[in-house]
């Protein structure tokens, strides 16, 4: 069973994504802010993080860099799931440098696609 940190500021969407991921057999913790995310990363052991970049007060880019500066969090797989288009945000080089497994454009990603992405990434992790 994968433990997922879902970083999603929108309460409604957090509940929808969380329900779908749980329905697919994952354990999900939701964080709405960067501070909440860091607290959860400190207290729980996550396999994967699903990250919206647009967060109030601090953005997901900061969280991403902060996470990758901690050796003990480097094993956590990352899916960026954001309403900011990928081409606007980062090159494939930056994604590789930050060890981001996948960039999903939120308006065009169904719940099934999100869940399948989690499964694919986690099965690669353990194969």
């Amino acid at each position: 069973m994968n433990r997922i940190l879902l970083v999603e500021p929108d309460q409604y969407l957090a509940e929808i994504y969380s329900s779908a991921l749980q329905h697919n057999g994952n354990i999900v913790n939701v964080a709405r802010t960067v501070a909440q995310s860091v607290n959860l990363l400190d207290t729980e052991k996550f396999d994967l993080m699903i990250l919206e970049l647009k967060i109030a007060q601090h953005n997901g880019i900061e969280l991403l860099y902060e996470m990758r500066s901690y050796v003990d969090w480097n094993k956590i797989r990352i899916i960026i799931h954001s309403s900011v288009p990928e081409q606007k945000m980062m090159t494939s080089k930056t994604m590789a440098q930050l060890d981001v497994d996948k960039y999903l454009f939120k308006p065009r990603t169904t719940l099934s696609e999100l869940c399948n992405s989690v499964e694919q990434i986690m099965s690669r992790q353990y194969s």
Partner: protein
């Protein structure tokens, strides 16, 4: 052992053990230094506020063996807090720190510190367009590294003309006459100003259209990638 002081900007941070962080800072007068900041991760320490990214700090440190010193104290001098209000600027700020970190692998001159400070100040000011900052920063890095493009004559040593169109040769770092080339007088003029102006804010006061500016961001970035260790 005597403590040293410096004005510094944090380039990178990684964790070290349970509670420590290793930071690499660029200083004005002492080049690049690696320091361990003890106890900053888990508990509120007097250092915590002074090792943030996108800020200038006054630090006291003890030099150490093997190139790793110890941070003794840090006081925030200037925080460029507006950068993180904008996701695009945040992304570029991290990119810029990486570029500076790579370019200054050997002993860096004080000019790199001053450039980085100006760059962060520009990013912090939301009225200075990001593409202007990028173009200016790339040009300044090229200038400091001795790779300024030739903005006076073309690849055949003829004076650049206001009526001709040009392509660009990254090998010779000069413009090449091309009848339907993407670059013209306005591009070249803007590049000249970007090299000359001390700050991105000054450059932002020059009127420029996206049609001129957007290709220059990519052009200057490619120049850097070809001639400096930015990537």
């Amino acid at each position: 052992m005597k403590q040293h002081s410096a004005v510094s900007i944090v380039l990178t941070r990684t964790n070290y053990g349970e509670a420590d962080r290793i930071i690499t800072v660029l200083t004005k007068d002492s080049g690049k230094i690696r320091l361990v900041a003890k106890g900053v991760r888990k508990i509120r320490s007097k250092l915590a506020g002074g090792i943030e990214l996108f800020s200038t700090n006054d630090i006291m440190y003890l030099p150490g063996k093997g190139g790793l010193g110890t941070l003794v104290s840090s006081r925030l001098r200037k925080n460029y807090g507006s950068i993180v209000k904008n996701i695009d600027r945040t992304m570029y700020a991290y990119d810029a720190l990486k570029m500076i970190h790579k370019i200054t692998e050997d002993s860096p001159e004080p000019e790199y510190f001053i450039l980085l400070e100006h760059m962060l100040a520009a990013l912090n000011e939301e009225t200075v367009p990001l593409d202007v900052i990028k173009t200016w920063f790339h040009l300044q890095l090229l200038k400091l590294g001795g790779h300024t493009p030739n903005l006076i004559t073309d690849s055949e040593d003829h004076k650049l003309s206001a009526t001709e169109r040009y392509g660009f040769s990254f090998d010779s770092m000069s413009f090449v006459k091309q009848s339907s080339g993407p670059f013209g007088q306005h591009h070249i003029t803007y590049l000249r100003l970007g090299i000359t102006f001390e700050t991105a804010k000054k450059l932002s006061q020059v009127s420029v259209t996206p049609e001129i500016l957007t290709p220059l961001v990519q052009l200057t970035r490619t120049m850097l990638e070809r001639h400096s260790r930015v990537m």
